[in-house]
């Protein structure tokens, strides 16, 4: 009995670690392969290898020298950051109203906000384009900040509303008795409690803005204003039909590394942020 039990336990542990290994390999392998490819040159690219056989930074050099990739990186960082800050600012106040103040039509409003995320981006493209030109922000970073609101705002409002709903009511009431206005409650009491949640939603929105392609392509018309995903799409080989896999993979690695770093830095916060809903007094 004891022996079989041990055997079962060992099998269980082995199976568990096998599962862990499978999960990690499946998650990381494509990225690993992209890195591998990015070190290859010429016809080597079409040959399959599992381990690095050649090591050449040429692809990276050509990415960073072709077009204005470093500039595009900066654009992406700027646009994604501003978008996130703006969305968080608008969403925090709106989430307070939606989660803590009861008024007629609150559920309807939340539904409308969700509805905005239901419309295909393709369909608003032309309307947004006209609007952006009318506002005179075409081909500026603001055009992208402006248009990204369409998907960052509903998301941040919803998630922050969920988080704020879970904050204990008595803390707010204590603040009311202390004479805090709604603005003070948000900034002095709720925000410090919610910052893990803010980091999480901010990161999610940041990745959304960072990865966006369609708007970025449509609303910019010069190399200096474009963002990284567009820049990757613009990467090209020597001639029309040639797809520069090596360079694209190099660019992809360059674009992904900051995000992976960001996720690594914040991963604890991401998890705790989502669990910190019930702040205990």
């Amino acid at each position: 009995m004891g022996a079989t039990f041990d055997l079962w336990k060992i099998t269980k542990t082995t199976l568990f670690y096998a599962l862990v290994v499978v999960i990690v390999v499946v998650s990381v392998f494509p990225f690993y392969y992209a890195i591998l490819t990015s070190f290859k040159q010429g016809t080597d690219i079409f040959r399959i290898t599992y381990w690095p056989v050649s090591f050449s930074l040429e692809n990276y050099q050509s990415v960073l020298s072709q077009g204005s990739f470093p500039r595009n990186l900066l654009n992406s960082i700027f646009i994604a950051s501003v978008t996130v800050i703006l969305a968080l600012f608008l969403a925090v106040t709106a989430a307070f109203a939606l989660s803590r103040v009861r008024f007629r039509g609150r559920g309807f409003l939340l539904m409308v906000i969700l509805g905005v995320s239901m419309f295909p981006q393709i369909a608003v493209l032309s309307g947004l384009f006209e609007l952006i030109r009318a506002l005179g922000i075409y081909n500026t970073p603001w055009a992208l900040v402006f248009s990204y609101t369409i998907f960052t705002l509903p998301f941040t409002v919803w998630v922050l509303t969920t988080f704020m709903r879970d904050l204990p009511i008595e803390i707010e009431e204590a603040a009311i008795v202390d004479g805090a206005s709604p603005w003070v409650i948000i900034t002095k009491v709720f925000m410090p409690l919610m910052w893990p949640a803010l980091v999480t939603t901010g990161l999610l929105a940041f990745i959304g803005a960072w990865n966006e392609f369609l708007f970025a392509l449509t609303f910019t018309s010069s190399n200096d204003t474009r963002t990284v995903p567009v820049a990757i799409a613009l990467l090209s080989g020597g001639s029309q039909y040639e797809i520069p896999w090596g360079i694209i993979m190099a660019a992809s690695v360059i674009v992904t590394v900051p995000l992976v770093a960001l996720v690594l830095i914040f991963q604890r916060k991401i998890v705790s942020g989502l669990t910190a809903g019930g702040v205990k007094g």
């Binding site: 494509p30 369909a123 969920t162 009431e173 709604p182 960072w210 392609f213 369609l214 992976v260």
Partner: protein
């Protein structure tokens, strides 16, 4: 809670006497909501209404301003042929459209289902205590951090029939008997798209479920352990019900995304009728074909379909979305 009335958010409850506090809060709420609503109205409302309007006109991209109202013609109309035969035209009887609807629904249902299940498995693994958990947690987030357009390209590279590594791997491990052209044939194209999408978004799902798992008090499991409840029963009786709210919200956002899926398919299998989704078809009509109004009608119908599905989902899943009273 030992309070005798469920604590309610301090707020106007329709009382006749509007207290200063309620007034202040309602006023503040108004000011807080205003900027967001203006932003959304401008950035989404206006283009959206225009799209809906265009779906009732004969607009073309060459002639947007001269669009004329034609009612429901883009959706459905009856055409009398010279021979006297009657034909039904419009989006509602367009086989391509319904094929795209079917593709989209199939894609959304399958991908969200697998993402939920696999996300649950990954979350359960990450919720267990073991060495190197931090690294594993970081590793599973990588797919989620890679831009879609990049991961689509990465995978189309790996799925390539001749120099794709997946075929090579499959052959080496004896899983495949010959190289498969994953994105080429109708049977495998959808599977390929699904694999990539599931790979990419499972981490997101896992993360949200993990968050829910971590809120489950440990002593519940200890109690169940002592009571000798079988682990599988534990999962269905304890874990699942407690994780349910987080899961439901995660599924909502994934579902919305999946129903609008565009970029992945556009890069991976742009013209395969086996994977063409509503968004891809709408784009084709809006820009590639000179059918701006027809494409707008598709967008509008897509919006309606998503809205109905979401409402049904919220209703069936009893998802609390109006803020509740706690």
């Amino acid at each position: 809670m030992a309070t005798d009335v469920m604590a309610t958010p301090v707020a106007a409850t329709g009382g006749k006497i509007k207290s200063e506090l309620m007034q202040q809060r309602v006023r503040a709420a108004r000011w807080f909501l205003l900027p967001m609503l203006i932003a959304l109205a401008v950035v989404a409302g206006w283009p959206l209404l225009r799209s809906i309007y265009f779906s009732f006109t004969d607009a073309s991209l060459n002639n947007i301003d001269g669009a004329e109202w034609i009612g429901f013609g883009n959706y459905f109309r009856v055409q009398q042929l010279a021979s006297g035969a009657v034909r039904y035209r419009g989006l509602l009887v367009d086989a391509d459209w319904w094929n795209a609807v079917w593709n989209t629904l199939r894609f959304a249902a399958t991908s969200v289902f697998f993402e939920a299940v696999l996300g649950m498995v990954v979350a359960l693994v990450l919720n267990a205590e073991f060495k190197g958990r931090g690294i594993v947690r970081a590793a599973i987030l990588i797919p989620w951090a890679i831009p879609t357009i990049v991961s689509a390209k990465m995978w189309s590279w790996m799925l390539n029939d001749q120099f794709g590594i997946l075929n090579d791997l499959g052959l080496r491990l004896g899983l495949l008997s010959q190289k498969v052209a994953w994105t080429a044939t109708a049977e495998t194209a959808m599977q390929a798209v699904l694999v990539v999408d599931i790979w990419k978004t499972t981490p997101f799902m896992a993360l949200l479920i993990l968050a829910g798992l971590q809120m489950v008090p440990k002593d519940i499991y200890e109690a169940a352990e002592i009571d000798g409840v079988h682990p599988i029963k534990q999962f269905f009786r304890i874990t699942l019900p407690l994780v349910r709210p987080a899961l439901m919200v995660a599924i909502i956002f994934r579902l919305l995304d999946a129903l609008r899926i565009f970029d992945l398919i556009y890069v991976l299998t742009p013209n395969s009728s086996a994977t063409k989704t509503m968004s891809v078809l709408a784009r084709e009509n809006l820009f590639d074909f000179d059918k701006f109004a027809y494409g707008s009608a598709m967008s509008t119908l897509l919006f309606l379909i998503i809205a109905i599905l979401t409402i049904v989902y919220i209703w069936l899943g009893k998802v609390r979305f109006d803020g509740g009273d706690r």
